[in-house]
Every structure is written in C-alpha cells, then in structure tokens.
Symmetry: none
Subunit: 209 residues, 4 copies
DNA sequence: GATGAATGAGGGTTCATTCAT
DNA sequence: AATGAATGAACCCTCATTCAT
C-alpha cells in the first residue's frame, strides 16, 4: 500500500508528508485531524487512506521516515575520526542542533511521537532504530582516546554524564523557549554555544588529565 | 462545586481520583474518556459532572491535587539542615524515587500533564507550583557548604550538572522499566541506588576538593 | 400532592410561584431549568418535586394559577353595567393593559404558555378557562345597547372586529417594544391610549349611527 | 458547506428539508432533536452535520429557505395592478391562505420560528426579510385609489384595520383547526371565503363612499 | 488512481427525576 | 418535611474510515 505512495510524483509525496508532519507535531496524535491533513496537502480524503490505510499507519510511516532522515543526516555528517571524547560529544550536540534548525517540523514530530502515550510505536520500528542507534554509538565511540581521561574513570560513565548534561542543558533552553516566545525569536545560537561550552569546560576539567 | 466533592466520604473520593488519575496518565488528556473514568470509579456519568463541571476542570483539579500532595510530601521529608551539596542532591533524588514508588499513578499523571500539548494548564496553577518550587529550591540550597568544592567551580553549575545526571540516570531506568515489565517487577531498589552512587562517586571525585 | 403545597406558609408559596413563573416566562418551557427555579426560590431540589411531582405538573399548576388570578382580577374590575359596546370594549382593553402592568411575570408566563408548542396544556384546564371565558363574554355582552349600531350590523361581527383591531394594535406595540428596548422604557401609557383612541374613533364613526 | 447540500439530488434535499421542517415546527427549536430529524430523513447522523455544521445553522438555513420560498410565491402571484384597497387586501389574504394550504409545514415552521424565544434569528436574516416585506408593501399599496374612501379617513389606518381583521379572522380559524382536527379535514375553503367576505362587506360599507 | 459523500460509534455535557438520609 | 447526592437517558457534535462513482 505504501509502495503506491512511494511511486507517487515526489512533489506530491513531499506535500503529503509535510502536511501530516506539521499536523501531528502541532496537535499531537489524537488531536491531529485527517481532515486537516488532506486539506493542507490538497488531496482528497479517500486518497490518504488509499495510501496509508489508517491514521495509525500514516503515523508509523512518518515515524520511520523522520527517523531515517534524521539519523542518516546525522551519521553522514558526524566526524567519526575524532578521537577526543568531549570534542566528539560536543560535535554531536551541535550537529543535533543544526539538524533541528534545518528540519524543525520533522524534529517536532519525533519529539511528539516520543511523548504521545495515546500511541505505541510498533516494536519492529523501535527495534530498527534501537539497532541503528546501537550501531551508531559503537562506531561513534569506537576510537575514543581513553588515555586522556583521568585514571580510574570508566569511559561509558563519563560519556553518559556528558550526554546527560547536554540533554539537561538542552531541555532548559527548550523550556525557556516554550515559556517565552521572545526568547525563541531572539535566540542567538552563538550565545547558546558559549553557554554550553561553560559546562563542557567544567566537565573537561573534571574528567581530563 | 469541588467543595461538594471534598466533603464526600474519603473512600469514594479516592476511588474517583484514582480512576481519573489512571485514565489520564494511561491515555493522555484528549484520549482519556470520562465514560471510562466513571466506569473505573463505579459512579454514574452525571455524578462526575456534578462534582467537576467538565473534563477540563477535573483535569485541573487533579493537577492541583497531585502537585500539592507530591510537593508537600517531598518538602516535609527532605532534610534541610544537610550542608553537603552532593549528599543533599542524593537525598533529594532518592526521596523522589521513594515518592514515585509510593504514588506511581500520581507521578505518571504529573508526567503526562507536563507533556500533553492538547492541553494548557491554567497559568495560575503553573505559577503556583513554580513559586513553590522556587521557594523550595532556595531553602534547599541556602546552607550549602561551598568550601568543599574545588576552587573556581560555580555552585550553580555544579548543582545543575549533578541534577541533570540524576535525571538522565532516572530516565534511563524508567525507559528500561517501560520496555521490560519484568525489569520493573524485579527492580531492586538497592541495586538501583548502588548504580546511582557510582555516578555520584565520579562527580564527587570531580568536583570536591 | 399540590394540597401539600397549598398548605405551606404563604410567603414560601409566593417565593416558589414567582421563581417558577419568572424562569418559565424568561426561558420557555423546555429551556427553563428546575435547578434555576429552586435556586431562585431558595428551596431544595427534592422539595419542588415533592410538591409538584414533575416539571410538567408544575407548569400546569402555574397555568391554572395565573389564569385564575388574571381572569378574576379582570372580571372583578370590569363594569358590567356599561351598555355602550365600544366603551365596554375600550374599557376591557385598557383594563387588560393595566393588569399586564400590574402582573408582568404572570402575563408573560401566560403568553409563553400559549406559544410553547413543546407542551400541551391539559384539556381539562383548557376547558375550564374556555368555560370561564365563554361565561364572561356572555355576561360582558349581555346588556349591549344594540340600537346604537347602524342598521343591518350584526353585533357579534362588530364586536369581533373591534377586538381584532385592539389585538392588532396591541401586537404592533409589543413588537416595537421587543425590537426597541428604549421604546419600552419610554412607553407613555397616555400616548398609547391616545393612539388607540384614533382607531376607536374610526370604528365608532363606521359602526355607530 | 451548504453548497454541498444544494448540489445534492433534489429528492434527498427535499427529504432532509421536510424532516427538519416538520421536527422544528412540531417541537420548537430547543426540543427538536437532530436524532429525530436524521431518522425521519433516513440519513446518518454525520451527514446532517456534514451539510449544516450545527443544529443552529440548519435552523437558520431553513428559515432563509422558507421565507424565500414563501415570499417569492406570494409576490409572484399577487396582482400589483389592482387599485381597490379592499380587493387588494382580500386578494392578499386569500393568497396567503392558499400558500398555507400548499406548504403547511413550511408555514408552521415560520410561525414557530417567530415565536421561539429559545433562539434568536440572525439579525442579518431578519433584516433581509424586513427589507423584502417593506419593499413589497410599498409596491402593494403604491397605486391604491384613495378616492374611494370616505372623506377624512386615513388610508394607513384603514389598511391596518382591514389587515388586523383579516388576521383576527385567520387566527380564529386556525384555532378551531387546532382544537378540532375534524374541522381541519372538512375545512371547506369556499365556506371559509364566504365567511371572510362577510367581514369584508362590513368594512367596505364602513369605509367606502 | 482519485474523489468526497456517507457512516456510526463514541465523545463531553445537561437535566428532570429519584431516594437514602 | 426537607435535603442534595446520584442517576442515566438524551442531547449535539466529531471524526476515522468506507465505498460507490
């Protein structure tokens, strides 16, 4: 069924995908309206179901699509040769931000889908992305130069800590954006990076020889 | 209107609150069905609206109720006299876990409500809890013994990092629980604390003199 | 059941009657809320049904009550000895207006009840008031001095015409009041009578010798 | 939205219109049930709202529809060239009766809607029909031959009186019909006209030279 | 392939009425 | 007598999904 969709003229595919992505991320799974999607995509009601079968399957397709696109973009741009752990994590964090800015609807959709409990992602899909992530991680951290870390530090623990700090900092920024629309508009990416680097510096000091 | 509810026999109150809490946290605001709530609570449809007026007001009441209960419990048990930053944060983290285990539905509900975009919590309520949290924080960190930190470390940054690590660790555990119900059942709180303490030890080493 | 109501302290009776009268005339039968009535009357929900059994029976009681009161007032004040047809009809029309001004809620209620099709007045009640009206009419027109009419005029026809003109004029005024609240406030009863008398003069000229 | 409805097969349109017209006029706006309407029209619940959006819009559409149909029919059949006031009013009255007999549900609906306080017709619609009526009236009475009236009679007053008599007579007949279904079935239109003409004769005698 | 009219289960909400106290 | 908590049928409306064209 989705084969049919994929052999559509690309412009129409894009129109439909963007319409659905936007609607789902703006209103959540349950609240999103297939009526609204077809209106945004300028196609008929029947066609949507002709291609995707159900709202749920459409959502699942979008999840697959978004994750693939996001992860591919990510792993094609990351510099696997970097051996410094902190530099690599910093690079990953900044790349993530770059991708969010490049595909905001797509990212919002992924966020929404992780959060919407009205809905369970198909295990197969989850497994697929778990596998991609696992494989990506191992490649990412394969060639880390452990000798830079202070004695006795486990690299896994250190990695987790740095990532959690990155996430915590990111969430704080996102919350500020949510609360204060002005903040979002004026968000100076450079200022953001500078602040992030403060934390990085602290961690470097703490964990590096 | 809610006064009527509050002067009900406690058992019935509990039944209704639990039913609603469970339904909302399982299915999200929009998806939650008042039909299902009354069925779970074993009361008539009309009664729910007799007490709460609308689904929205019910949700708002639950939010208020849950937050109050959770925060009160938290702040009544925390040891404000502790001056060691890491000990205090560890204590807070463990207390939080204890509370989650004690009121799991309540915690799930709060999580859901923070995430559910189909619904905007009344700003007044949010402000109220923001105020409680802010005041709690300042009391919590009022008497920290800064002299234990290595020179040049900003206490705010250090606090944030430790909290983010706690959150990151907590999320990892919650995800495991979500993915694997067995894990949840067998969750050995002591094992959990031990693992958490590994991270705490690393951070202590990193930040303390 | 209504016996119980009638042996209530008069003040409470009045409170209930007025509350119900007002609610029904303001919002129509279906739209009227028993909740609102008990609130206005400051009695409990159960009591209303204790006395009247159902919303419908309450309405029926009010119909009976209002009609009785209105007709009694009317027939007690009309001058049956007047023999001039036009004077008698003019007197009746003005008396009606006086009563409307005296018991506006009551009159509104009667109007509402004649118009509300969501509801059928019990035939017994209708018959009762038909009988009263018929008997009143025959007394009213018993001693008319027919000799004043031009030759060949049937008194019944003339009476009907004059009454219809009165009604038509009245309706026109009511419509203006409905459309323009200012008109209602500024309504000068004397001006109203003067205009009415214009029509009366025309009819007198037309029908009297 | 209503465009969709208007491009439906006429038979279905009629079925829906008649069902709604009947339900509204039988039970009033508030009491009328959309459930009942769809049952009568033999369509699904959703379809009604697909076409009309809401009960209120459906009602408004019917009001517009009925008024247009009624007024168009009326003004297309009336003989504007008639210069005799009484003949013209008689013609109008009989035409009105003819139309009521032709579209009874439609007429009942209009009556109901004028009377139903649970609902305020959109001012725009009211204005529209006021304008039509006003323009119709002025055309209707433009070429009246005033010279036939007795000296000193104001044509406006005379017109009003004749119309009010027509209305009064009409109401009396309608009431008889309501009270006694047999009367309605046996209603001999010719007998009716004859009786009406009695009043017309009296008025002619009274007002014409 | 493409359309959009048509469906009907389910949603939140109201309210006259009942009944234990 | 008096209360008001409790009921549940009926209300209007939404929306994913189907299907004849």
């Amino acid at each position: 069924m989705i084969q049919k969709f994929l052999s559509l003229e690309p412009e129409k595919q894009t129109r439909i995908i963007n319409a659905a992505l936007a609607e789902f991320s703006e209103r959540g799974y349950k609240n999103a309206s297939t009526n609204e999607i077809v209106k945004r995509a300028n196609i008929s009601k029947g066609l949507l179901f002709h291609y995707f079968g159900s709202k749920k399957k459409l959502f699942l397709f979008l999840y697959d699509y978004s994750m693939n696109l996001f992860l591919n973009d990510f792993y094609s741009k990351i510099d696997f040769s970097e051996t410094d752990l902190i530099k690599k994590l910093r690079q990953a964090a900044l790349l993530k931000i770059e991708l969010i800015q490049k595909h905001p609807d797509l990212y919002n959709f992924i966020l929404t889908s992780m959060v919407d409990d009205s809905f369970e992602i198909k295990p197969e899909l989850e497994d697929k992305f778990k596998a991609i992530a696992r494989e990506g991680y191992s490649r990412l951290f394969a060639n880390i130069d452990v000798s830079k870390l202070k004695e006795g530090l486990d690299v896994r623990h250190v990695t987790e800590i740095i990532m959690w700090v990155g996430q915590g900092f990111g969430n704080r920024v996102l919350e500020q954006m949510k609360r204060d629309p002005d903040y979002k508009r004026d968000l100076d990416i450079q200022k953001f990076i500078t602040e992030y680097d403060t934390y990085i510096a602290i961690l470097k000091n703490a964990f590096y020889k």
